[in-house]
Each structure stands twice: as C-alpha cells, then as structure tokens.
Amino acid sequence: MSNKRKLNDIFYQFITYISALISVLALSSIFMFVFIKGSSLLDFGLLFNDYHEKYYNGGFNGDIDFSLTPEPDNLEANEFYSSMWGIALKDAKDREGNAIIIVSYISKDSPFSNMYDKNSVDIESSIVIKEGNIVSKISYYDKPTSLTRYGAELMIKDLDTVTDIREVVYTSLGGGIRGSLLTTLFIIGLTLVLALPMGIFTAIYLNEFAKKNKITNLIRSLIETLTGVPSIIYGLMGLAVFVPFTIAITKADSANLISGSMTLAVILLPIIIRSTEESLKVIPDDLRTASLALGANKTQTTFRAVLPSAYPGIVTATLLAVGRIIGESAALIFAIGTAIKDDVSIFGRSTTLSVHIWSLMKDEPANIELASTIALIILIIVLALNILVKLVSKKFITKIV
C-alpha cells in the first residue's frame, strides 16, 4: 500500500516537473527565435528612419568648388575616400539584403553639398547628399557610368579622375519603422483614454451600485463572452460602424487612426471591466462599512475608500490592455488600414507595428529578418512598459496603501 502511494506521488510530481519544463522551454524559445532572427538588423536607424525611400537626382551648374578636406583618419579599410569630392563610400547591404553603396562620410566643403535638383522645375533648388544616403548611380560626360554593382572602390576611383558630373542618383535609406512605431504609441494613448475610464466606471457600477439580480448577472456573463470573441469580428464591426462614424464627424475619408482606436477600445472594455471588477471584489466589506459608519455616502465610499484600494488591479488591467493593443493585428487591418506611413496620420490609413509585421510577411519573398526585428522591438516595448508601470505603481502604492 505504502509503495503504491509512493509511486503515485512520484508520478504526479514528475508530471508537474515536465509540464513546467515544457512551458518554460516553449516561452523562452519564442524569445530566442525572435532574438536570433531579429537582432542583426536592430539599430537606432531602423527606429527613426522613414519607411519609404526618397529618390534624388542631383546635378551641377557651372564651375564646381572642389573639396580641400584631406582624408579623415578614422576611416576604416572598407571606406574609400575621394579628397577632391570630399566623400567616403562603402559597400553595404540594405534591410532587404541587397548590395548597396552607402555614404559613410561627407566633408563640409564637398561639392555634393551644393547640387541642383534635377527633378525640380525650380532651377535654384539645391539638394544635399547626407551620410547614410545610398548612391546608386553616378554618370559622367566622358566616361561610362559608375554603378552599384561595380562597388564603392571603383566608384571612388572614377570620381577621382573626373572634374564634372552629369548626374548623381541617390536615395535616402528606407525600411525604417518610425511611422509605425509612432502610430503604435499614439494608438496606445488614444485607446487607453477611451477605454480605461469607461471600463473602470462600468466595473464600479456592476460591483458597487448595481443590484445583485438576474439582469446584472446577464450583463456580466455577456461581458465575459465578449472577452472570447475573435478580434477580427470586432474589426468587422469597426469597419461597419466606427469607420463611417469617424468619416461622418471628422475630416477623415477612409479607415483612420480614430476608428482604429475606437475598435480597440471596444476590444479592451471586457478585459478592463473584468480585471477591475475582480480587484473590487476582493476588497473587504469592512472597508465599505467603516466608511459608511463615518457618515460617508455611497459615492464617497466608492471613490475615496474603495477605488484607491483597487489601484493595483487597475494597473494590471492597464498593462493587459496595452499588451493587447500592441499585439492586435486582425481587427486593425480593417479598422485602421495597412498603409505604412512615415509619420502619425490621424485622419488617414496607417499601421501599427503588428500590422507592419503582417505587411512584411505577406510580400513575396517574406522578409522574416525585418519582421523578427520588429517583433523584438515590440517585445522590448512591452517589457519596458511593464517595468515602468511596476516602478511607478510601487512608488504610488507605498505612498497610498
């Protein structure tokens, strides 16, 4: 008998160990995957660059003032410098993996700092090559054109032999996620402003003011059901209700950031209501009776005594909400669009980081590296927000509670 008990014991313990191990492995492998795939492309340029590259065609009018700056000391072996033109170039790869020639240094008195824009009708307009720009083509009057595929070294050699240039074709580096990042942060703010007060007040109504009867229970179970509804259904609702609504009352004429936020707010409501209500439920009735016995009325009791004690629960609700906003993609494809923008556009289509990932992956061939990098950035944002909220609430709670 005792042996059987022992075996049973070992068996159940073994199951708990194995389950814990598998869970930890599964979770950490997600992190590992994203980190390994994505960390190579991670740099600050990615965060701040435009997504769309801009094309420039530069040319020279009249005499060219050549550079007098000697080669800087800090150039590396793969950077090639033309002292006449005051520019250093090097071979690199862009975010899609294609070979490019990138400007790694440009002197202050370089002739490339004063070119006229061949694409502009205005003859006086001047354009400038900056560090980080990609030079794709330089054509001359009396020599074959220098192209990306011949490499940076040859391009510099060609430059050193000429005194005039017909045209420089260069682009700013694209593929950045600044627009999507800003849109994500903006939408987090707007959605929380919409959803948090409404959710918290609904929870207060349900838990503190509503009579405990069948109707309240029905409302509560409806809210619980809403938590499980797939978000793409909310997206359809956003498309059918909020998009026309925002078009009607704002200057937007398509899916936009406001309709996206409204849709997300509706998705978040059940989550916020539930976790706020849970935290209100565990507050002991002692606190309410103590307040009422001091001559406080129901409203004062709720907002001065009960709500401050529910603060940790509300923080958790907010964190869950932020996580959900960052992670949401299906609903947003309808409600905010998939257009990748370089800045926050409130009244037009735009995209958050998650939808940005989806856009990258639906292309052929899919850019898994960049998608993983964005995923890594999302993870970092979520982690940072978590730590921030914990720190802030710790300070706040030790003061109040």
Binding site: T289, L292, L294, G295, N297
Partner: protein
Amino acid sequence: MDNIFSIKDLDLYYGNFQALKSISLDIDRNKVTALIGPSGCGKSTFLRCLNRMNDLIENCKIEGKIQYSQMDIQTKSFNVIELRTKVGMVFQKPNPFPMSIYDNVAYGPRCSGIKKKSELDVIVEKALKRAALYEEVSSRLKDNALGLSGGQQQRLCIARAIAMEPDVILMDEPTSALDPIATLKIEELINDLKRNYTIVIVTHNMQQAARISDKTAFFLMGELIEIDSTDKIFTQPKNKKTEDYITGRFG
C-alpha cells in the same frame, strides 16, 4: 432622566428569522452601557440598529421604535448620513483604510465637506490626542496606517470616529482581536471618553463589562433578559438566566 436612545418594542427579522424580539430599553447619556450575552444572541445586531448599519443587509426588516434624542430614526425621511456622523462606530476587527494615519482620521471630516488644511490639522490632532494615540504617531502621520500594531490600529479607528465629533460611540467587541495589554489601553481610553461621549459596547468578556461599564444589558436568544446598573447585574441579578450566564454555567 437623560436618555440619548430610547428603544420601544424593537423586532428585527433577517428574512424569516427573528433576530431581536420586542426589545425595549433606554441608553443613558454620557454613560457606558455594556451589552453581554452568548454568541448569536442579537447584541451586535441591536448595536447596529442604533446607527442603522443594518440598512446594508438585504432582507433585514425592522419593526418598532428607536428614538435618538427624541427623533425617530426609523422613518424613511430621517437623514442616515447625519445620524452616522453623530453616532460613530468602532468594529470588532481594526479596519483602518489603507492610507496614511492622517488621511484615516481626516476621512470623515473630508467626506462631510471640510477641505481646509489648517482646519483638518486641528481636527486630526485633537482626535488623535483624545484617542491617546497622538504621542505614538505624531512623527509619522504620513505613514501608512496598516503599519501600526493591532491595538494602535483600533485606537486609530476610535480617533477616526471621534474626529466626527459624535455624541455616541458604538463599539462592537473592540478588544476581541487584541492582546491583553492593548485591551487594557482601550479600556482606559473608554474610561476617559465617557466624560464626553455616550458609549455602547458589545463584549464577550464579562470582566471587561464589569470593569468599564455603568450599565449592563444581558441578551439571550434575541431577547433582552435584564438591564440594570453593572454592580447589580454582577452581584445580585434578578433573573436566573443572567445569574447562570455570569457565573459561567453556559455561554
């Protein structure tokens, strides 16, 4: 005859269960009245009638007359909020709010509309001094009240009630969760307070009732068996049941 409370034929039902049966008694102003009796005899329920805390319980039906300073408090039009500012209450378990000591004491005055900091400062200091807590906490008024010991927390709850300048303080077994030393302090405090306040205290501890109260009422099975001066109840009770209870034959 100076009765602050006068109760006539009070019946109280929780649903179908009758918890109080035809209670009639008067409570003297500026005296300590102790309510004793075994668990479930209705003494706490009776206490909660005096500031209408039973309103919070669903299915609770009250019949009869409770007069506070000649006013009938059971009528619907009676201002319960005002009653509760005049009739304060201290509970069995110390239940300070999870906020600073200062905010705890200032809670009631703030709720009744006092906003001025200087005014609140005076009220808080006075209340804490009256509750014999000021010296212990004066240097840490901004600290969280939950960091105080159980006895200090209970005195804070008394200070919180005093801050409202009540006439009556109801105490529902205020020392049952405290150790003997903290209990002694609370009892000394009650002795001090009875000069200014009427105190009605529910207690399980018969020695405590004998030590601190002027009058004692004995409840049994929802009925008031006997009420008299404490000396008489403990030395020559009229009713056999009272005698049995105080001599420890049951309960």
